[in-house]
């Protein structure tokens, strides 16, 4: 089974790191994984999208997916082109601190999480994406929260390790703020969990 996740935000919001962390977490959970990040130019306020595919067998799909099982929306600016790619009933986590615009709450299972505010409250204003990925793990079970924490630590370059503790708090806060779906991503928590 292949589970897709699309992430969108603006440069600087941490979308690429979040995608990486989920990918590493899935690998830690023993699954096949493919992560593809697409961002314009450098770390400036342009678009920042990413795709994650996690599977319990080898992945057949090419790294750009046409249909997705879920989405994380850190900002609405580059969200529109993503909408048609979501399968009916797809799980969407919205950054409700910033999100503006319409979303079809009938067709999609939408979860509003005010991650920018939560991150600010945690004293880690740049940690919104970490809160979000904690929430995503909590809602979908696509990766285990513990795997996400470990994946985050492995994803930080040496010169950013000082942020690890704050990020861990952010991930756990996100996970605690939500409830798991009735039908999560997998039957079991993790292939080797």
């Amino acid at each position: 089974m292949e589970r897709e996740l699309l992430l969108t935000g603006v440069g600087g919001q941490g979308v690429q790191l979040a995608a990486q962390v989920i990918g590493r977490a899935a690998a830690i959970d023993g699954r096949s994984v493919m992560v593809f990040g697409l961002y314009s130019g450098m770390m400036r306020g342009g678009s920042s999208d990413s795709t994650v595919v996690v599977a319990d067998g080898p992945i057949q799909a090419p790294p750009i997916v046409s249909h997705s099982w879920s989405a994380i929306v850190m900002h609405h600016k580059y969200w529109a082109p993503m909408v048609p790619k979501l399968r009916p009933g797809a799980v969407v986590l919205l950054n409700s601190s910033l999100f503006e615009g319409d979303i079809d709450r009938q067709a999609l299972q939408v979860f509003d999480v005010p991650v920018t505010d939560m991150a600010a409250d945690l004293g880690n204003p740049m940690g919104a994406a970490m809160v979000m990925l904690g929430a995503y793990a909590g809602v979908t079970g696509l990766v285990r929260v513990e795997a996400a924490v470990q994946g985050m630590r492995e994803s930080l370059p040496p010169y950013r390790q000082q942020h690890a503790a704050a990020n861990e708090r952010a991930i756990r806060a996100g996970a605690q703020a939500v409830e798991q779906l009735a039908t999560p991503a997998w039957e079991t928590a993790g292939a080797d969990a």
Binding site: G23, V33, M34, F36, L38, I59, A61, I64, S66
Partner: protein, 360 residues
Amino acid sequence: MTRRLMEGSEAMAEAAVASGCRFFAGYPMTPFTELLEHLARRLPEVGGVCINAESELEAVGMAWGALATGARAATGSTGQGLSLMQESFSEITLAELPLVVFNMARGQSDYFQATRGGGHGDYRHIVLAPMDIAEAVELTQLAFHLADRWRNPVLVYGDYLLAHTAEAVDVSPMTFAPLPPKDWAVDGSLGGTSRSRTVSSLGVGKVNRPGGGIPAHFEAVVPKQAAITAEEVRVETGFLDDAQHVVVAFGTPAKFVRYVVGQLRAEGVHVGFVRPISLWPFPYEAVAAAAEGVRSVMVFEINGGQMVDDVRIGVQGKAPVVSIGGISTDGSGFGVGPLLDVEVIRGRVEAVVSGQEVPA
């Protein structure tokens, strides 16, 4: 080495290290940058050298020097940076140095540059185009082997998607047939012995052992290219047996095409594919065989129409050749544009199969 989530750039860097590459020089440029970053970190760990060259011109020159000593050495960039290296590329080929070049292309519009030689002269690089990370790990190692085997540069043709996609991969060293010793390399030890060596693109030796001279040196190109053409064609084909239509594609877009062809076959559409893995030498024979008796040969490439020339040469008029690709880029000019989408490709293939116009 155990499986680890690595982006394509990192996996290729690891494959280079596993191949014994001990010198790299490069200059950052999207989407090549990460390959350089990984090698800058990894090579010193294994006793190698990675220089953050001050420009692409310097990078290729440094690699030239390292190669002349017999080391396995590489450089790389993306389209523009490789354009700057063209003079060196053709002359390194004439000097018969086993350079490996990583072209992390911004799309596929450097096909001509890669296969026809953007530089002057009759040189050709062997060009290997992986479709995904696992294959990139193999072809990178093959590249170092072939470069040494033929004393000819080999270009690995990756792209943005390959560089920036991460998968859990395992890079283990491959084994190849043994190679002759590099007795042509200079190590400085033969000065004053009347047997000193010259590494040169000019075909000149020392006065006491002048070699064949420039004309002979240049003419030696032809049989060498013929030998490579005879031995190094690599291609994957699928579903050709009773195909009425064939799609030709290379590199990461070929992975999309293969997926689409698989879907269509599952639905009973008689379509097959040819995926050139070596772009030079090009699998003309495989294309010719595939073209026999089909109703169309489609070419899906992300550019204005380049590989289509080689497909036409292969098809030799046996079937109509139809371009179903095109220039496709994101707003930044180096990312991935709208054509790289399973649905879009499927739509184009279906249009040709059903005799309609290809949607723009």
